[in-house]
Symmetry: C2
Subunit: 316 residues, 2 copies
């Protein structure tokens, strides 16, 4: 049997047919074109599903379930309770999909949770049942898999590890708190930290790098460090400390088999991961245990969310 | 059927026969008398179990399983890998118990996890399946129940929420990190904060209260606040902020049905709980959800660990 995984994003809608080896056999996609009504968006989601089935040469009767990952909070009835990105407020996504696709099992989940599920089963988790995925992007996203199932909390709003305070009364966070991990460890935060350091260090090579690139990015400080720039190195060292502090917190709470880190910053590879692993090894509570959490880079990129969505039916 | 729950503590060994309504029918206890060898301690554990069965008027053949909570890290084979309190290093607790009790199913778990399980099923959790228990004592202990099972991590060292940093580079913690929740929200931390405020405020009524009590305790600042003392009020306000910050972190990660707070500080009742609930309501991420985590006081006291241990067999 096959299943369909859908990634409903702020920019694109992507649907894929996935087999039980987690292989993608066919894909359909279309721009999300926000702002639009839920009805129009779900017309296009159904279109993407049919395009994916056509490419995979399967019929709806071959599909055991359809899963969709979406930004925001989704409850167990398949209602998107709230999504700031999509401007959805209590949208009955399961009903809208069923009207358009016909009789098939439909599951919905938050997109970060789908990505975590995909990485846990089919990606860098190698099938691990206790797994945490962290994405260092515009914010700090996270998804938690325990005993092979998504931890979504009693109101489907759980797994928000980015909104745990690591610096009491620290930098303001979009969520309204101060000092959240996200306010220190997101790519957005790294860019802010880089700009601050540039202001304080007018002779830093970061200025040249940013000028050549046309902007300050999450790479600026890393590139400066590679050129021997002291101010750039300091930015990187502090950023790694912020990321690692939150990771040790997660290790001490969950002791998962694997924590994976995704997002653009991960393109730094071992430059980022090695010092993070060293920091975690030094600070984790479980010094006496032979088994320790592995910290690895996410593998599946955008496909993580699609494969995770396709898996939703099989983990119920 | 009945089960036996054992609480192996640093001070006392307590064993109770528990029925399937979570009622304690008979108890045996004996001092732990540390330091002693594991063999001597397990002789006394078996003695306490037999005394409990005698009082409950049941035989070993009536007992479906025996569960024991112990300080430290216990693995799934029933080996206490490490316990600083008991000075145990790789003690095969299951084998030692089996030798002394005979043929019965035996389960072991960390004591804080047992207490969480007991409160979740039989105490203030009212049977909730997603539950976090926090104990504000010498340290900050915690136990996490998700889908009715204990979250113990891949190496049975999970659930250490007290050792998550809330103040990066903050106060030193016993675990080796700086700025852990435990270093701010434990009773030990509250006493330190009270002493600091007394040093800075020689006219505070806290000095009189401590003199009358013969020591500075976790109640000193609360008592001073009730007498209108400004310095005492400030200590209490800050302490509540520290406790609440960590609680919001747990809400944002787990969105459990219930978080319960235990430990001596909880004798303050609503003086402590009301401002905590207000803080959490203001800072939690899930502002759009109708269902919100309840924050309540632990109910079962020392029996939580015993009832939780007795439950271990039924949740496997």
């Amino acid at each position: 049997m096959y299943s369909i995984g859908i990634d409903l994003g702020g920019t694109n809608i992507v649907a894929s047919v996935v087999n039980d080896k987690y292989e993608i056999l066919g894909t359909g996609s279309t721009p999300t074109n926000l702002p639009r009504s839920a009805e129009e968006i779900f017309d296009d989601i159904a279109y993407a599903c049919r395009a994916a089935m056509e490419e995979a040469k399967v019929e709806l009767s071959d599909i055991s379930s359809v899963g969709m990952g979406t930004p925001g909070t989704v409850n167990s009835e398949g209602i998107i309770e709230f999504s700031n990105n999509l401007k959805f407020d209590h949208v009955d996504a399961r009903a809208l999909l069923k009207e358009r696709l016909g009789e098939v099992e439909i599951y919905l989940e938050n997109d970060a949770n789908c990505a975590a599920l995909g990485e846990a089963y089919a990606g860098c988790g190698c099938g691990s049942k206790n797994f945490v995925a962290v994405t260092l992007g515009t914010g700090v996203g996270s998804g938690i898999i325990l005993n092979g199932k998504i931890v979504s909390g009693v109101n489907c709003a759980g797994g928000e590890c980015g909104h745990t305070v690591i610096v009491l009364d620290g930098e303001p966070c979009n969520c309204g708190r101060n000092g959240c991990w996200e306010a220190y460890a997101s790519a957005t935060a790294l860019i802010r930290q880089t700009k601050d350091a540039m202001n304080k260090n007018p002779n830093s090579v970061m200025h040249e790098i940013a000028k050549a690139e046309g902007k300050v990015s999450g790479r600026t400080a890393f590139d400066a460090m590679r050129k021997g720039d002291k101010a750039g190195s300091e930015v990187v060292d502090n950023y790694i400390k912020y990321v690692s502090c939150g990771l040790v917190n997660l290790v001490n709470i969950f002791q998962p088999e694997v924590i994976c880190i995704g997002g653009g910053i991960c393109n730094e590879g071992e430059t980022l991961l090695k010092p993070i692993r060293d920091y975690v090894a030094k600070e984790r509570y479980s010094v006496h245990s032979k088994i320790q959490t592995k910290i690895v880079k996410a593998e599946l990129g955008n496909n993580a969310g699609i494969i995770g969505a396709a898996l939703l039916g099989s983990i119920q």
